[in-house]
Subunit: 166 residues, 2 copies
């Protein structure tokens, strides 16, 4: 049995007592959170519940064309007023480099690929967070009125630490 | 007090009993889930726990260059073997069009933007899911051995429904 088949069985059980029906597509707490796909992250660490926020996740918690798209939709269509960018310690993208990643995957698959053009590997996490904030703060469709703040989540302590704009 | 400040207070409380320290960056159940940023989605509906999966989320649950990047990293670096794509009923991107969205945001901000180039608005959800599966299945860095399956999550019933590859 594949994991997806196990999930389908679990979903059938869940649906018998589906308790999230009353939620709306507009985040109750008017916040969008951009963070990493990492296994160890949970909105529980932020005191948030399902329904409170838009959650946008990719490898690293990086501002890309795609995350900008999501954040623009979140603000302009669905009323979020604050954006929280959260990177985390021990991120897979910190233990590697663009060239290493590309070579490793080309060797595994025996083929090159044009896309993705970048992996967004990084060395300094504070610099990386500041760079994401800058990309948001300079986008013409993220108004000044939207609060944009950046953080590092420590996977060992469970604590957030703020990284100030440069 | 901003919502982010409230979250920082909640995180301090959370960190006192941080119970996720033992988790590893490799998903325990070797699965990556691509879904929407929507408020109403939770891994609880899938019977999953923090630590089980990579969770990748954007507006719509769309396969873009960025989500491909995340999925490639997930499989080749961190050992996931199955990919589940989940779109959902009542998605914000179903109630609009590319042109509508662009016009609306340009009018609100008083300025045009080059990026994002697309919003990935869609009308038919089954077709949309199939299109995402096709983008994954044809990428040179997603091997045939990786299971790729697509679903629609019904926000009213809490149930998943599979959409087969075309």
């Amino acid at each position: 049995m594949s994991v997806i088949d196990e999930i389908l069985v679990a979903n059938e059980v869940y649906a018998r007592t589906h308790e999230l029906r009353a939620l709306t597509p507009r985040p109750a707490r008017k916040i969008a959170i951009l963070t990493c796909m990492d296994t160890r992250l949970s909105i529980r660490t932020l005191g948030l519940k399902t329904g409170d926020a838009h959650i946008i996740r990719n490898a690293g918690g990086i501002v890309t064309e795609d995350t900008l798209r999501s954040l623009v939709v979140s603000h302009h269509l669905l009323g979020t007023e604050e954006i929280m960018v959260i990177n985390h310690t021990d991120c897979g993208l910190m233990h590697t480099s663009e060239a290493d990643l590309r070579t490793r995957i080309q060797n595994r698959t025996g083929t090159a690929a044009v896309s993705p053009a970048f992996f967004y590997a990084f060395q300094n996490i504070d610099e990386n967070v500041r760079h994401q904030l800058q990309k948001l703060r300079t986008h013409p469709w993220i108004p000044e009125s939207v609060v944009v703040r950046g953080f590092v989540y420590d996977v060992l302590t469970g604590k957030l630490r703020e990284v100030k704009h440069s």
